[in-house]
């Protein structure tokens, strides 16, 4: 970290830079008000809300079924996760304990594919932020294949509305298992290529290691979650710690940042955790694809969703972290209050803490490693 010089000695003024909302590496319409001393940043204020779509107000006027397409639009890079998390919350609210095995398997398979797809974007975009363009197109190319798989399942490529409270919209296509296995066989060696091209590249390491270090206590105090928290060395993953769906059946590890190239919790660790998580997702997928049972995917869908009065707080591990849904039901077919604790919202709030004192270029690295999606932050 650089020392910001004492203003009284050199008599230099600070400059306020306005980064965004139209800036190539703010990942959407984020605006950063940066106070700089030359190239060195002394304070950052993220200004959000440019993509605010009144999600929570909408939910109060829509029935539980109709909310699902809107949850997709929150985190548009991991739409399957949002719908899955929401469905789990509504099932909890309704008291549905058990779903058909096949539903759970399909949900897990799609969620893990979605995690790979989302991490591919994160990995590629981080490369793009530090100036490497080729890894980005390679990751997008592979993500495209996952999206093709999704399209064959759900009919759409980005926003699916496939996972419904209580079940699924429809069953898998007949040759899905084969196609998914083909993809996994193709994809596994690709991760090595990314590593050779980007992860172990000296310039990339220079740009990301030891930068934006987030200590564990800061991370927890700020409510950071997901790969960002695990990058700081906390092995906390809801899939492991409090398995929802059927994650307890699968054997996988929770990768954490180890500081291989610098300090624990730097940008490189946060990046590398995502690469490792893709490998873990492949592990889960291979187990799930081999043991998927038969069954009816629509059997447990309730005819009418009208939960009793009450509240529920449900957590879900999305690609970006801990998605919390607080639903208050007033006994109607519409929630009386639905609050979404979006993971990237909390992850972004830590930005000033970990990137003040670094250069403008480092702010972009830190922002890239936090892996934010503005659709989810602004809701």
């Amino acid at each position: 970290m650089y020392k910001v010089l004492d203003k009284s000695i050199i008599g230099a003024d600070e400059m306020v830079m306005n980064m965004g909302p139209q800036h190539p590496s703010t990942h959407g319409v984020l605006r950063l008000k940066i106070v700089t001393d030359g190239e060195i940043v002394s304070h950052i204020e993220p200004i959000i809300g440019y993509l605010h779509r009144c999600f929570e107000k909408h939910c109060e006027n829509l029935s539980y079924e109709q909310i699902v397409p809107f949850t997709d639009r929150c985190d548009y890079l991991a739409a399957m996760h949002m719908a899955h998390g929401y469905s789990i919350a509504v099932e909890k609210l309704l008291g549905i304990e058990e779903l058909p095995e096949r539903v759970e398997y399909i949900r897990v398979i799609l969620a893990e594919f979605q995690r790979i797809a989302s991490h591919l974007i994160a990995v590629g975009v981080f490369g793009l932020d530090v100036g490497a363009i080729t890894p980005f197109t390679w990751t997008l190319r592979d993500r495209e294949r996952i999206i093709d798989l999704f399209e064959s399942v759900t009919g759409s490529r980005l926003l699916y509305n496939y996972i419904w409270p209580g079940g699924l919209a429809h069953d898998l296509p007949p040759n899905f298992i084969q196609k998914a296995n083909d993809f996994l066989n193709y994809f596994e060696p690709q991760i090595e290529e990314y590593n050779n091209l980007l992860t172990t590249n000296k310039i990339f390491i220079e740009r990301s290691a030891d930068i934006g270090v987030m200590p564990v206590d800061v991370a927890i105090n700020y409510g950071v979650s997901g790969p960002t928290l695990r990058g700081s060395g906390v092995p906390f993953d809801l899939r492991k710690d409090e398995p929802y769906s059927i994650y307890q059946k699968f054997d996988f590890d929770v990768p954490v940042g180890e500081g291989l190239m610098g300090t624990v919790g730097d940008c490189w660790d946060r990046y590398y955790v995502k690469v490792l998580e893709m490998k873990e997702s492949i592990k889960i997928l291979k187990q799930a694809l081999n043991s998927i049972p038969e069954g009816d995917v629509k059997a447990a869908i309730p005819k009418k969703i009208r939960p009793k009065k009450g509240e529920i707080y449900s957590r879900y591990e999305t690609a970006r972290g801990d998605l919390g849904l607080y639903i208050r039901s007033g006994g109607k077919n519409m929630p009386s209050r639905l609050k979404m604790r979006s993971p990237a919202y909390c992850n972004l709030s830590v930005l000033n803490e970990i990137s003040a004192g670094w250069m403008i270029s480092d702010v972009i690295s830190v922002l890239g490693s936090l892996d934010i999606v503005l659709g989810e932050i602004d809701r």
Binding site: E56, D241, S336
Partner: protein
């Protein structure tokens, strides 16, 4: 159970609700929040503001988690809309943005928050839209707010 330690310590001041959440009075929140932090709940997951739809009352639900003992705690405060609530942003930094959001959308006023201003809505927005009695304004910045959808279909 995680909530027992609170009920034990503050017998008079707290009330145990169903599904194990604890109702706290707004005036005691400063004391209790410090105590919660000093016991093991280091991770603030979420602050939800909600409208009770009666007596102009609104509520806040705090969801805590302990990364050490893997326990959950839900605290609720229900109060008159004009009451000032103690801000826990200095204790859990995660509360900073959540409280700003609660202020922005529900109009909860927090006392002692370092930077209390709107976060999601524009600064010149009128009112707090998640209140149940909130009405769409006729004008926004001098522009009429269209309500009749016949014009754009």
């Amino acid at each position: 159970m995680s909530e027992n330690f609170l009920v034990k310590k503050y017998k008079e001041k707290v009330e145990l609700l169903e599904n194990n959440s604890i109702l706290v009075d707004a005036s005691d929140w400063k004391e209790i929040s410090t105590f919660i932090f000093k016991s093991r709940f280091d991770y603030l997951m979420c602050i939800t503001s909600y409208d009770l739809e009666q007596d102009n009352k609104i509520g806040l639900a705090y969801n805590f988690y302990s990364t050490k003992s893997k326990e959950y705690l839900e605290i609720r405060i229900e109060f008159e809309a004009t009451t000032k609530v103690f801000s826990i942003a200095e204790i859990w930094r995660a509360a900073d943005w959540h409280e700003r959001e609660a202020y922005d959308l529900m109009g909860v006023i927090f006392e002692g928050h370092p930077d209390m201003k709107r976060i999601l809505l524009p600064d010149d927005w009128d009112g707090h839209p998640l209140r149940k009695d909130w009405k769409e304004p006729e004008y926004y910045n001098g522009m009429p707010v269209p309500k009749d959808k016949t014009y754009w279909e």
